[in-house]
């Protein structure tokens, strides 16, 4: 059940109707049943998996808290981490690792073959395993009291608005709110966020997808300038797709009186990689920082150590996205950017540039340059194979990318110039608006909600209407559902 499909609308209308109609004490069981129905609608067999993960971390969390023996506490937290990562490794990475090993051996001339299990990836597994792990680790670190109510904890793991594609919530933020579910009051600004998210996903991302599809399918056949068009389109598509999903998730939470963390804050306004990761997929980047980068040593460990930690974090962050080498390469690209932008010379160069120009143009140029670096990373992310990565980088960075003459002739022959100009205007609007007001969707909606009720209604109704009317007949699913 994808958020922007009619069946989710029907599901939520029924669910929320019951939420409003039933006594407040019935909210917890209703939400749990609703969440399990939602997850079961993807594949009912995997309900056991999420239930098992819930049971494991609920029990381990309590045992860790009870135990005073450091060794036993360590054993228990290891059990949780191994259990969660084991499930993730099997369902998400088994075929990838075995397949890669066999390919490697074959490349060395060794005749090897292995069974490919064709394991079906349970939707949202990458998200909820990270949530359950962080719960147990926080208890181990003494930063969190374990939940004494299994239903509360099961709700924390399975809360349907953010179950399948985040934001990755922390227990210390979400659990207390779930505990007091009966007392929560609906925040109707959630409707504004849902409308904004639906518009971003359906009206912008789903229409950009057609441009990307045409250029990125068999990229060796594409015009090099067209590949840049496809790359820009994908940068806009993935932002509107993922942040649109997050906006809807946050909005749904608000209708139930729950505060879900913001996942995006105008990422294309970033002028460097550190800033980008403070604006893009904030819940994942902060998770990786707290549970991977800092335990690896973080900013301590000398010149080499810090760079090793950055690269390892980004490589694993890339692999988290998908079991394929192009995601590892994407992680490497961002690791390399983080390392490069830490270079003292580069920073000094940036500072000199800033001194010479007025602040705004300098910031804009730096943001534009960095946007192109991020866009090149998206080319790796979107590629369907390592060979495609090479083709894409080869074409995007070749002199052919500047050979606009033959390409413009092809544009004229296609008759698609008005369409391309229209889509370009949409993409540019998204980019410029982020750079003019580097805020998140919640800030936009909060501003509207400070206005008169009529403005709120107009905002919500118009966006929903536009999303419904501009939707393609067969829209693609949310990109991050595959992770």
């Amino acid at each position: 059940m994808v958020f922007t499909t009619p069946q989710f609308v029907a599901f939520f209308v029924l669910f929320f109707g019951a939420w409003l109609a039933l006594p407040r004490r019935a909210r917890k069981p209703l939400l749990l049943v609703g969440s399990y129905l939602f997850y079961g609608s993807w594949n009912p067999h995997f309900l056991w998996l999420i239930f098992g993960s819930t049971l494991l971390d609920f029990a381990v969390g309590r045992a860790v808290h009870r135990s005073a023996d450091p060794r036993r506490r360590k054993q228990l937290v290891t059990l949780s981490v191994v259990g969660n990562l084991g499930v993730l490794a099997f369902f998400k990475y088994f075929d990838f690792f075995v397949g890669s090993a066999v390919q490697g051996l074959n490349a060395l001339g060794l005749d090897a073959s292995a069974p490919v299990l064709e394991v079906v990836l349970p939707v949202g597994i990458s998200f909820y395993t990270f949530q359950t792990m962080s719960y147990t680790i926080d208890i181990y670190r003494g930063q969190l009291e374990p939940s004494d109510d299994f239903v509360d904890f099961a709700l924390y793991v399975s809360f349907f608005p953010q179950l399948v594609a985040g934001p990755i919530e922390r227990a210390k933020h979400l659990l207390p709110q779930l505990k007091d579910l009966a007392q929560n009051r609906a925040d109707w600004s959630g409707l504004g966020l849902i409308a904004l998210g639906a518009f971003k996903k359906v009206a912008i991302a789903d229409n950009m997808a057609a441009l990307v599809e045409l250029t990125y399918t068999q990229p060796e056949q594409a015009w090099a300038p067209a590949l840049w068009i496809g790359t820009y389109a994908f940068a806009i598509q993935i932002y509107c797709d993922f942040s649109g999903y997050s906006d809807i998730a946050v909005g749904l939470g608000r209708l139930m009186g729950l505060d879900i963390i913001q996942n995006f804050r105008s990422p294309y306004a970033a002028a460097g990689p550190s800033e980008f990761w403070r604006r893009w997929h904030i819940s994942l980047s902060s998770w990786l920082r707290d549970y991977l980068y800092i335990p690896l040593g973080g900013n301590r460990g000398g010149w080499v150590g810090v760079r090793r930690n950055l690269m390892l974090t980004m490589l694993l962050g890339g692999l988290w996205h998908g079991a394929a080498w192009n995601f590892v390469l994407w992680g490497f690209w961002h690791g390399a950017l983080l390392i490069a932008f830490r270079a003292e010379r580069l920073n000094a160069w940036g500072a000199r540039l800033a001194q010479g120009w007025t602040r705004l143009p300098t910031a804009l140029v730096r943001r534009l340059v960095f946007f192109h670096l991020v866009a090149l990373g998206w080319a790796l992310f979107r590629a369907e194979s390592l060979a495609d990565c090479a083709t894409l980088f080869g074409a995007l960075l070749s002199p052919d990318a500047l050979a606009w003459g033959p390409w413009l002739q092809a544009v004229t022959a296609s008759g698609e110039a008005p369409y391309l100009l229209g889509m370009g205007a949409v993409a540019l609007t998204v980019f410029i608006s982020q750079n003019l007001w580097a805020v998140g969707s919640d800030d936009v909606v909060a501003r509207v909600w400070r206005g008169p009720v009529g403005l709120r209604v107009a905002f919500t109704a118009t966006l929903i209407y536009a999303a419904a009317v501009l939707s393609p007949e067969a829209p693609p699913p949310f990109i991050y559902f595959q992770f």
Partner: protein, 329 residues
């Protein structure tokens, strides 16, 4: 109090503006062929209030069966034969149409409804729900929802019904986009439009992507068949209620030309399913135009529609089977 009135006025203004926009978009005759097909069919019903014979279904049910020829066969005046078909109107759409007829109190002596194997396949296009929403009487909406329960994704259908009930333009999404396209590209030159339709890929690629999708590919899943069965069952029941005789015509489609065991089994399932449905009602008779019917791919002009030679052959077989059915009554 004053603030509430202001809020109410704002709300009314926004909703009225959206309503006007929605009405403007969805009622235009230049967009939405599904909507226009229903309008055209209703205009035909209105012209023949005294009709005693009716042909229901999609174009595959009607295009080979002219009213005049059928009238001659049944020995009734042509004016009493009503063409009630609607383009692209499969079982669910026809059920909604017949419910509307039943609600209007229309009665017939004989009705015909034709369906082929491929219509057992369900692709959840918005247009299917649009057709149903346009015709189903409000009192029959619970019945429609009950039929949706047979689908693999009942909430998808229910949500679409809700969306189309709230916004007429939502159901015509594809048509709205086509209209925007026409506005953007200057509709004046149809040749330029045709060139663009065939050359849209040129801005991106040096060669077009080769499509490998086989024609009429369908899994015929249990859910899909169950949904279509539920609609057909309801449809036959309603046809039997508004008519003395109901002829359920089983029509060939292009997959009839495929001789593999998989397709043979599917055609056998198609015949068995419809025969069982017909046998459950006393005044419903199957006219099997599949067995010994058109099965050569050359006699189809596309996946479902027959060419002139195919139509001629089908009419001949229909005449024989109808005579046999009439004789056997």
């Amino acid at each position: 109090m004053k603030a509430r009135i202001t809020v109410g006025l704002w709300l009314a203004l926004v909703l009225a503006a959206l309503g006007v926009a929605d009405h403007f978009i969805s009622s235009g005759r230049s967009i939405g062929w599904e909507r226009n097909s229903v309008r055209n069919s209703r205009a035909r019903w209105a012209k023949k209030p005294q009709a005693r014979v009716a042909i229901f279904g999609s174009s595959t049910s009607k295009d080979w069966l002219p009213e005049g020829w059928l009238a001659g066969l049944l020995k009734v005046p042509t004016a009493t034969v009503l063409d009630a078909h609607i383009n692209g109107c499969h079982q669910g759409c026809t059920w909604a149409e017949v419910r509307e007829f039943r609600r209007a109190g229309r009665r017939f002596d004989t009705v015909f409804f034709g369906t082929n194997l491929f219509q057992l396949c369900e692709f959840p296009h918005t247009k299917r729900v649009l057709q149903q929403q346009l015709m189903v009487p409000p009192g029959d909406v619970p019945g429609l929802l009950g039929k949706y329960l047979h689908a693999q994704t009942p909430l998808l259908y229910m949500g679409r019904l809700l969306g189309i009930s709230l916004s007429g333009a939502y159901g015509d999404t594809a048509a709205v986009r086509a209209r925007i396209e026409k506005l953007a590209y200057d509709d004046a030159d149809p040749r330029a439009r045709a060139v663009r339709r065939h050359n849209h890929w040129r801005w991106a690629r040096q060669r077009p992507i080769q499509a490998e999708k086989p024609p009429l590919s369908c899994e015929y899943t249990a859910d899909s068949v169950a949904l279509k069965r539920a609609f057909t069952e309801g449809l036959l029941g309603d046809l039997a209620a508004i008519s003395g005789r109901v002829y359920l015509m089983l029509l060939p489609d292009r997959t009839r030309s495929l001789r593999d065991p998989e397709h043979s089994a599917r055609w056998a399932q198609h015949l068995a399913l419809h025969t069982a449905l017909a046998e459950a009602l006393p005044n419903v008779t199957v006219i099997d135009l599949v067995t010994d019917g058109v099965s050569d791919a050359r006699h189809f002009r596309d996946g479902f529609h027959l060419n002139a030679e195919g139509m001629k052959r089908q009419r001949t077989l229909f005449q024989q089977r109808l005579a046999a059915a009439e004789g056997g009554r």
